[in-house]
Symmetry: D2
Subunit: 434 residues, 4 copies
């Protein structure tokens, strides 16, 4: 049996942002192969590249892939496996048991977030500044990259599940697809796999995520939720205001201040009234503008997202977002342009599959408390996959695996209780053996 904790720490140490997960993919490939998984897809076989070519900000050019491959090899991925990826991220392991049964698919997302991980000076847990990844040597070695959303753990769960299946293959039936998906934090990761047809024959779609919540409390260690019903649709835009530079003393009246337009937009975007029928959120996460201090800022960009639990809410927020964007442009007499990353949909897990998770989880001692329904409180392109399978008559769920953490999700100081990993894999294996 492979060591899921050691693997999780390895992935944690070498985090890779969406569309650059070449080291991670090569390692997954290597491990699946070592476990004897009979069919493994990688490189051009995983993603619909035509679809991705339409996506803003996705650079899968030859030089970009080549650079990621070089880095992957330099960071300890086997050269032959790196070569097989061709620099494309994503791996799918397929196990046809030969026995009749449903087609199961699991999604494990493998990308990281793009900010610096916390670095704690403390050496023992008693130290105030203790941070286990620093103390035990698996903190991110990549500046500006961090696994602060548990995807390192998800990947390790997937590999452990593969090893459990391969070790007693005769206990399993049907066909099992282990999908290691890139770019969950970006856009088109799930869509790229769906568009390639990998889910066309899937009957049950199961996805795990660490550290969700239920009943308004984070899911700590020894807890679990069987599914969620509050996926929010999410649309992201990078909006650039185009003003005019001028000297702020010599010719201020000839300038058009894009920085102030963005500040007016950002403040008013955050002040949009929430829709009373359900969840909605607006966030401006990034702002960048200006050249030097003594020039009126000619161009400024804000990166924003809005999310709604229902279509009515998303549409309302979209209208209000563009009201604000238009109005700020008008205030400062300028135009704006934007890159639209598209919309991840809302979605609802299948009760029938959640019921089964509930039964199986009850059999695993580590899970002391099982919540039927939990909360994702946001968006995940898991919904793309679940919706697709459900639309074709199948079932899907998104299982929250409880785990104590050292910070909220998406915080630079996010580490978790690794004991949850084997428990999660055990649950998934049981779902297959029912």
């Amino acid at each position: 049996m492979i060591d899921s904790i050691a693997l999780r720490r390895e992935f944690h140490k070498y985090p890779e942002a969406g569309w650059t997960e070449v080291r991670t993919s090569a390692r997954i490939l290597e491990i699946l192969e070592s476990l004897g998984v009979p069919e493994i897809l990688c490189g051009r076989e995983v993603l619909d590249l035509d679809l991705l070519a339409t996506g803003p900000g996705i650079d899968l050019s030859e030089p970009a892939r080549r650079a990621n491959m070089q880095r992957a090899a330099a960071e300890g991925a086997g050269a032959a496996y790196v070569e097989r990826t061709e620099g494309y991220p994503g791996v799918i392991g397929i196990i046809d048991t030969g026995r009749p049964g449903p087609t199961y698919a699991f999604r494990f997302d493998i990308d990281c977030l793009e900010f610096d991980e916390y670095d704690g000076a403390g050496r023992s847990p008693a130290d105030e500044e203790y941070y286990r990844p620093s103390a035990e040597g698996y903190r991110s070695v990549h500046a500006g990259k961090a696994h602060a959303c548990g995807h390192d753990g998800h990947t390790a769960i997937g590999l452990l599940l593969a090893s459990m299946i391969m070790e007693s293959l005769s206990d399993y039936k049907g066909t099992i697809k282990l999908i290691f998906q890139p770019a969950e934090e970006n856009y088109l990761g799930a869509a790229g796999i769906v568009a390639k047809g990998h889910l066309d024959d899937v009957d049950q779609m199961m996805i795990v995520h660490l550290a969700l919540s239920a009943e308004n409390e984070p899911l700590g260690s020894h807890t679990l939720c069987c599914g969620v019903k509050d996926f929010m649709a999410c649309r992201q835009l990078d909006v650039t205001y185009h003003g005019e530079a001028a000297h702020p003393c010599g010719a201020a009246q000839e300038g058009k201040n894009a920085l102030l337009a963005c500040c007016s937009a950002a403040l008013n975007l955050h002040a949009i009234a929430m829709h009373e029928k359900g969840l909605g959120r607006v966030n401006v996460g990034v702002i960048r503008g200006g050249t030097v201090t003594n020039v009126i800022c000619p161009e400024c960009t804000i990166c924003l997202e809005y999310r709604g639990q229902y279509r009515e809410i998303s549409e309302y927020l979209g209208r209000r977002v563009f009201d604000i964007l238009d109005g700020a442009a008008r205030q400062y007499d300028m135009d704006y342009t934007y890159v639209d990353y598209g919309e991840i949909p809302a979605g609802v897990c299948s009760d029938e599959l959640m019921d089964r998770v509930q039964e199986e989880a009850a059999q695993i001692p580590w899970f002391e408390k099982v919540y039927y329904e939990g909360n994702v409180g946001g968006s995940d392109d898991a919904a793309v996959m679940i919706n697709y399978v459900q639309d074709r008559g199948g079932l899907g769920t998104y299982i929250g695996i409880g785990t104590e953490t050292t910070g909220p999700v998406h915080n630079p100081k996010f580490d978790f209780d690794e004991e949850c990993l084997p428990a999660a894999a055990e649950l998934l294996a049981r779902m297959l053996r029912r």
Copy 2:
């Protein structure tokens, strides 16, 4: 006689930001030497390096200097001259005529601004998108760098003046210092030269700048102003707000939004009421913050400046600026830190020297209209030098050389009428020959 227009275009093509002007310095050195200027200071001789070591953002480390030297050589500066700079910017040519007379100093600033130059597609002036630097091949080859403040012209004027003096040296008296100063747009350029003692013996300090204004109109070609009295003090700060990252859906209440704190600060900084006793200005020129769209922005920086014509105004604005900065931090429950670049002083040109400029300009046909007093409408560390010389009993002035331009100063589309260059050098030569 050297070709000032060709030289100006060469400097225009290879703009260098403050503290990196190694190619420019090596070329100045080479030209001054070729003209036979008897004493030339460069490298460590020009600037007080101890003072600069205290300056924020000034990187004169061995690797930084080495990189600039390599670039300078690759861009056509003579290797031997590059080597003599040791990677430090700035050159001073000294001509002791051997005849009794005052010590004169001229300041020519050599640095560029840090943004992209406009790139016009038009090939003939009749085209709407015509931009001469593009059409005639001297547009900046450095991304993010542009001579949009005329310093390329100032440098060319200085070299032309040197060639005029050396060609008929016997017409001149006293000692003449031609100071090619780095980093006028940053801080400590002038101060670094003053601190090294180069102005201790100076009786007359003369500085030219293209494209000022007078009587509320830009100084066009064939005009001139003899001095200015409205230098504003200017202080620049880079202010960073330190918030807390969190997922904007899962845990928004645990975040502290540094982006919104900066937006609140920026808008309110620009809304500071102006002081009625004279000129004052506040500008937030740059904003940068956030990691990715779906994380609450944990850290955001604004780069700002404030300027006042009198001490009372600068102090008032400084108080108001920190009120706003403090208040925005309080609104978003966070701290901020800042880098203080210090304050360039206000200053007033010497009437006695302005009178002399007026007399000499009247003798030069190119100057059809001579304004006694013009407006800088902002700040220039020229004031550091003028104040220093005046405080020791000398005279100083800041002469505005009129020239038609294709955009306001500090605009990406700033080119000018190069006919002004020989006229300016002729004026300075006449000031020496009086």
Copy 3:
């Protein structure tokens, strides 16, 4: 049987703001007496005047009461009844049936909102600008006062219920208290009645409200919800910033701009990030500041409220609200003071009582669709009463009576389907007769 629709229209036509409901109270008194209600409390008997004396903005002084009494009499309330109110609002009818049984209490709120009612020009429903209260002559005759929250309907339901009980008194058991409460929209209306001890012996507290929602849709005609569990706590503050007047040209630097401080506060208050654990809201409803256009605004007031579904959320919002208030004051270098109206609590209806409502409603044909749980989506001082009764071992619920409306609640164009009134009274009567 009394005509609840005619009565509702009468109350609609003479709306009275919280603490001034003298005409309404006198009319209630008159009607209850005409129905033979055996015990009727009014005037000083209803409210704890000592408590009210502590409340900001409550003027129950002799001259204020006298003025309201004069107006009430002039507007058709019987002089003797007006006199008996002594100018204090609120009436309680008590019916001791003489038969053993629980003590039941009902709350009917009687106050209006303080803005102008819509005035539609249309005369027939087909006209675009048709508005029934205008067309049929019961639009508010009081400028700045409108029944846009259904309290006119609640009052009519209470009186109809009284007439139903008195008509067949022998069908009822226990003791029945019909509480006509003032000042639901203000503060201390419910608290003033509780403090007087009127709920000390109550076993079942029932409160109706028109036009709530359920399952994210407004409750239209022929629907009902049996209770709610989402009362939000609500705290209201009137915050005044104290700046300094000055001439905006002659002496701007001596001013301190309270208007801008309030604008900065209001925008940032609305931008407070919502807490992920439940509902929360912040609203700045009113702003008032300045003297004349050509004076820097010396004093400005904002009236705000914040609401949270749980204590943790209310505390979070309260902290953030004061962060913003403090920060805006700091930005503009001034102090602020505030009037604190106190906090209405959150609350949850009793399942046991909701079950009974569900059973009874199913017996009434008008209610075609019965939702078990609905949403108030806000606050109501009904929670003060329900909590009080529950804390002493009793039960309470807040029943949403569906009705089509012509505008959302608190909109100037709010009218409703009056058919709901007898259905609501019938439901309450059945709850008593069980």
Copy 4:
């Protein structure tokens, strides 16, 4: 000789806002008559009522005039004089000396500002809270009205000048018009007099104002400036945003928040970049919006003004103001309407007349320091009159009379050194006797 200080205090005690100056006018009429001024215009003779009928906010209806007349009589103005005003403000005394000479006109503005005057508790000047108008009994008896701009003094100077002329009429020549003008702080006061033709034959227009500045310092006692050249044009607008009310919890998405639209407008209006060619100012002086705290604000008004020293600046600011107004409306998806009070023009005093003021002031011992040019640092409809006279070949000036003050102009605590009053009248008399 009349007592100018006693009169100034009387006017101070009964301040009247623009278009309501009936008590003041009746008193002026009475005093001029008592002095024997041969021709006195009042009532309908002073102002062009057709022009005023076009002015927003000017209520000269019969009931309004009647009410002001009643008040004026109640406050001690002689009934017969009140009657002669017919409730219209403004008085013109005309003295034709019978000797040949120019036609001179003087403007004395008589209206007050609309805010509460400071009320100091101190009884002796040593007390910290001493305020002479309170201590000596001439503080404003009108709530919300205060003479904080010196017009009480101007009026007293005009009456003292009249008494000086009448006492030795044979020393004077030509025709002298003493114009007591209403509504300087509002709009159309000066224009209403000009339109009536009173300045058609005027050769010299002289206007005094207390407490201007010169060389960046307030003009204190014993100083004077002979004229100003910095009148700014000023346009005032009352802008109302029309949103939509809704309950901030139950239906926030149906609201349109006019309060936030105004806050966004106000902040960004104050952040408009100043034009570098001269003075400009923007002020939002008043904001008013909202109904009650728990309703989204449906309508909000801001009262703003912008001023520019030159046409180019005024036009630039006007464009920017409407950019901001439009943009804020767009941000909050609503319309706005506005009342436009029109524009007071810029203007420049006549050097020839300023020279004469300089000569005469030098003869008056009280004026120890005479500045040639001072600063109004704002706007005054005096410019309407000066421009009109200049345009017809005459001369005009606006003389600043220095005086120590207890607060800046337009501050609630503005009192001044009354010694300046006879000195000012003496100067004007000398200007006539030249």
